[in-house]
């Protein structure tokens, strides 16, 4: 049996769609992935990320569209003929095999010689720091350990295309960083393509060559991490990328991309127009960029404060009850008045109606 | 006041005697308020009665049984001893019964009464279109069988009345030393059966199956009895025109059903049941035993003729019965079948030496 993905150059999704009954979980997704690329799939919970991976792996049939590997159409191939590696969101470990056999399963299926299996399993176990647990059954492992077995099982086969569905969600920060480094290392080493679902922006930003943002089964934006972090193209992507403050307002002045918006605060807010049409706009600011400033344009009352290590993050209520999220280096009392402002180059302005 | 009588039939006898029983209720409503009829297979009855008697709760009042279960019950002491204890309620049996039936009544040792009787067999039933000359000696049968392998059949004796009657009739025909001792006295019979076995394809376990094979043309001659000759043709299992042949100088091996009373039934019921037994031995009731030739002829007592029987019974016998039976019954001697112990020994030996031989081939 030939593995379809061996030595491929390019993976192409062509209007890939999938319905569950009346619900369209994927709506004509199109995307091209080059070999060696690391793609992060981001999007709110339930937007279709896992569905997309399952379709790619051949576990769900497409309702419409096609998947191409170079010149070969593969969406009708069985999963075992595609040769993609996959880390399942819910692990799907084999409950009757110990850790070692779980990890070695793919190699065993591939007919790899015994000694080679042993070596590569050892390696994979080492990567996920589970060498000491190798004799346990999945049911005897902690959640994070199970997740690591799932990772090891997928990477042990060194597949040309790896699909990972939130592979680090149950690991602690330290381990997550280590695993992230390992995943990148292995990706480089194998020269494989990786499609990586995550809800952790840090992960997406640091690992990916390109990020794909999905929403309601549709691609909203594809771009480099910088693009997405700095200049989300739509208000909803912005909100998803951490621009938590979404202040409705009226465009009062525009000079090229430099705009001024009246949001009903003491002064106008200055920002960058990204996607502006008409007068009614939304101003998007990250909480980390909105800080107390003596001359800040926004007057508000502190309603809550939480400690977040480097700094405090607070909520405040502006005029008309609009909710504001801001950062402060020094604690503020709840109920105190505060003036807030953000640098204009980090304040993005979108047409209204797009944020949801 | 009237009682409910639980009747259990393990011999298929209700078929014949139920009308007579019901007549008793009709005539004696002051004695019987209701009959509850239950049918069951014979072997398990003894166990059931034993369990009930050990627990002191017998709910079976009246048993209709064949030889086998009767003997089993006698061996285990399950039956109430009727004679001589209640002899005053019954006439002189030796006078009453047909000699053949009386032979069998004696086997009951006072613990039951023969209710109906027939001389049974051995007879050979054949398809006249396929068999022109029906064998009339065992030797002829063997020769026929060898010439037409697989065309003769009898059912496994343990499961079949005609099967066992055929086997039990052989010692008389072959002149064996002791026709009542199958283990030591049947040398010729066993030799004959083994020889016969070589041309028999297999033995069905049940008469019905062998009837069916005769009827559908797979077999041409099978063993039968008077009842199994008449009733199946009446029922349409076997074509009407099929014929019966007999061996020259054969001896009837009779068969009978009994009525018995388990030990431990309440006094009140006992009285009624005894009354009823006496009633059933009266000619008017015995005439019912003709039935549809099920146990032809059926009545166990002397002096019952077909014209005393119910109308439909008469019609059936006239249509499906065989006129020659009367003469055959009158002219040929009648013997009782093997007693239970010997019968079982015969079954066992047959299974081991004849039945199992099929396996070695």
């Amino acid at each position: 049996m030939a593995i379809a993905s061996a030595g491929f150059r390019e993976l192409r999704l062509d209007a890939m769609s999938r319905n569950f009954g009346a619900h369209n979980a994927l709506k004509a997704i199109s995307l091209t992935v080059q070999r060696g690329e690391f793609i992060a799939l981001l999007g709110p919970s339930g937007c279709g990320k896992s569905t997309a991976l399952n379709c790619l792996a051949g576990l769900l049939s497409l309702s419409d569209g096609a998947i191409w590997l170079d010149e070969k159409r593969i969406d009708t191939l069985k999963p075992e003929e595609r040769g993609f590696g996959m880390v399942f969101q819910n692990y799907a470990l084999f409950p009757h095999m110990n850790v070692r056999r779980n990890v070695g399963f793919g190699l065993q299926m591939g007919g790899v010689p015994r000694a080679e299996i042993e070596r590569r399993v050892d390696e994979a176990l080492n990567v996920v720091r589970l060498t000491s647990q190798e004799a346990k059954l999945p049911g005897q492992l902690s959640g994070g350990q199970q997740q690591r077995v799932a990772i090891a099982r997928a990477i042990a086969v060194e597949p040309p295309l790896v699909l990972m569905d939130e592979p680090l969600s149950n690991l602690d920060a330290k381990l997550r960083l280590e695993m992230r480094a390992e995943i990148r290392r292995i990706h480089r080493l194998l020269g494989s393509a990786t499609i990586y679902v995550t809800h952790d922006q840090d992960e997406a930003l640091s690992l990916a060559d390109r990020i794909v943002v999905l929403r309601d089964g549709e691609v909203r934006q594809v771009g480099t991490p910088q693009d997405l972090y700095r200049r989300p193209l739509h208000a909803d992507v912005a909100e998803f990328m951490g621009f938590r403050n979404a202040l409705p307002g009226r465009l009062v002045r525009r000079e090229g991309d430099e705009v001024e918006v009246d949001c009903g605060f003491a002064g106008p807010i200055r920002g960058q127009a990204v996607d502006v049409e008409g007068e009614r706009v939304v101003v998007a600011i990250r909480p980390a960029d909105l800080v107390p400033l003596a001359d800040g344009p926004i007057g508000a009352e502190v309603t809550g404060l939480e400690y977040r290590g480097e700094a405090y993050f607070g909520t405040a209520s502006g005029p008309g009850g609009v909710e504001l999220y801001f950062r402060t280096d020094t604690p503020l009392d709840v109920g105190a008045s505060v003036r807030l402002g953000a640098p204009a180059e980090r304040t993005l302005v979108y047409a209204a109606g797009g944020v949801g | 006041e009237p009682v409910v009588i639980n009747v259990i039939d393990v011999a298929g006898d209700l078929q014949v005697s139920q009308p007579a029983l019901e007549k008793f209720q009709a005539e004696h409503p002051e004695l019987v308020s209701k009959f509850v009829f239950t049918q069951a297979t014979a072997p398990e009855l003894a166990g059931k009665l034993k369990a009930q008697q050990e627990a002191g709760r017998v709910d079976i009042d009246f048993v209709l049984t064949g030889n086998d279960a009767l003997a089993a019950g006698m061996e285990q002491g399950l039956w109430l001893k009727i004679l001589p204890e209640y002899a005053d309620k019954f006439p002189d049996l030796k006078q009453l019964y047909i000699p053949g039936a009386y032979l069998m009544q004696e086997m009951a040792r006072g613990q039951a009464f023969v209710i109906d009787w027939y001389p049974s067999g051995p007879l050979l039933e054949y398809a006249p279109d396929r068999v022109k000359d029906v064998p009339d000696t065992p030797e002829a049968l063997l020769a026929y069988c060898k010439a037409n392998p697989g065309k003769f059949m009898y059912a496994r004796p343990a499961n079949s009345g005609p099967g066992r009657t055929f086997v039990m009739g052989l010692p008389y025909l072959l002149g064996d030393k002791d026709p009542k001792d199958p283990v030591n006295g049947w040398d010729k019979t066993w030799a004959y059966l083994k020889e016969l076995d070589t041309c028999i394809e297999y033995y069905t376990s049940g008469t019905t199956a062998s009837m069916k094979e005769l009827a559908n043309g797979t077999r041409d001659i099978i063993a039968t009895t008077t009842g199994w000759d008449i009733n199946p043709r009446y029922l349409g299992i076997v074509p009407e025109e099929y014929k019966v042949g007999t061996f020259k100088n054969f001896t009837w091996v009779g068969d009978a059903n009994y009525m018995a009373i388990p030990k431990g039934i309440p006094e009140a019921k006992l009285k009624v049941v005894l009354e009823m037994m006496a009633f059933l031995l009266k000619p008017a009731q015995q005439a019912y035993m003709f039935d549809h030739g099920y146990m032809y002829p059926g009545p166990a007592i002397k002096g019952i003729t077909l014209d005393m029987a119910p109308k439909d019974s008469q019609e059936t016998i006239q249509k499906f019965g065989r006129p020659e039976y009367a003469a055959l019954i009158a002219d040929y001697p009648t013997e009782a079948p093997l007693d239970a112990k010997e019968l079982v020994a015969m079954f066992d030996k047959w299974d081991r030496e004849v039945g199992s031989a099929k396996m070695q081939k």
Partner: protein, 294 residues
């Protein structure tokens, strides 16, 4: 609650005795009350033969090839039939579970358990008999020129045991296989396992505990085959099964003591196989058949 009462409670719980364990009591009590006495009675009865010493019945059984041969005759039927039924059920269940409208087919496949031995025996005698539809058809198509014999021998009983036994194993296997999380097979597929490999590596190991129990129950059923061995087989010959020998002892010879002894021998033989299988079952994984979260 006082501290002193604690150690005892804990040790009991640690030894596995708690509220849940007590759930076994009603069933156990029921069996003890209603089964153990009759069983012991029967057991003792088997040591009180009509003639001979206390082991007389057993000696009688094991010195008579016609009797002890029944063990072999029974095994010769029960083992292959049971294994065949399981071997057929598993692939059929594997296919049926994928079907969308599987209820009708399941109902039809399970239907023969409702037939009862008598109907199967009657049906087979008719259907496979010399003038049955099957033989007529085969003759009509010229495949054979005279009826083949499929009943009143080993095969008659064998076929009837397949007909009544297959639905039993199928129903159990189907429900057992459907308890396996499909995600496991999917995971195996992404790792390159083909259908056959998925079956042998994932599905089979996960249903082995269930199959073991299925085997035991089906085997016990087949081993105690009785009426069909009489009606469809050659009860004096090649299908003289052991329960038939016991029934003969009890109901023809009315020797309950000997019948009990034969029944005990029967139980011991069955227990040999069942115990072996159940012990082996303990060596396999038997736990939940899910693969992680969700």
């Amino acid at each position: 609650m006082s501290a002193s009462s604690r150690p005892r409670q804990r040790t009991l719980a640690d030894r596995g005795i708690d509220g849940v364990t007590l759930l076994v009591l009603p069933a156990a009590l029921f069996v003890v009350l209603l089964f153990v006495y009759p069983f012991v009675y029967g057991l003792l009865l088997s040591f009180a033969p009509k003639e001979g010493g206390w082991l007389g019945n057993y000696a009688k059984f094991f010195s008579d090839p016609y009797m002890y041969g029944t063990i072999w005759l029974t095994l010769r039927l029960a083992l292959p039939v049971t294994l065949l039924n399981i071997a057929l059920s598993v692939p059929v269940a594997m296919q049926v579970r994928h079907m969308r409208r599987q209820r009708l087919l399941t109902t039809i496949l399970v239907l023969p358990i409702t037939l009862g031995t008598v109907l199967v025996a009657e049906g087979l005698l008719n259907y496979l008999g010399p003038q049955g539809w099957l033989n007529r058809l085969l003759i009509l198509f010229g495949l054979i020129d005279r009826p083949i014999r499929l009943v009143h021998n080993y095969w008659g009983v064998f076929i009837s045991l397949v007909i009544t036994g297959f639905p039993f194993t199928f129903l159990l296997t189907l429900s057992m296989i459907s308890g396996i999380d499909p995600a496991l097979e999917q995971a195996a597929a992404t790792l390159g396992a083909r259908a056959r490999q998925r079956f042998f590596n994932i599905v089979l190991p996960l249903i082995v505990p269930g199959l073991a129990v299925t085997f035991c129950l089906a085997f016990v059923d087949a081993f105690s085959v009785f009426p069909s061995a009489v009606m469809l087989g050659a009860p004096a010959g090649e299908t003289r099964v052991i329960s038939f020998a016991a029934a003969q002892a009890a109901f023809e010879q009315y020797d309950y003591s000997y019948a009990s002894a034969i029944a005990m021998i029967m139980a011991v033989v069955q227990f040999g196989f069942v115990g072996l299988v159940l012990t082996a079952r303990g060596l396999f994984y038997n736990g939940p058949a899910g693969g992680g979260k969700g």
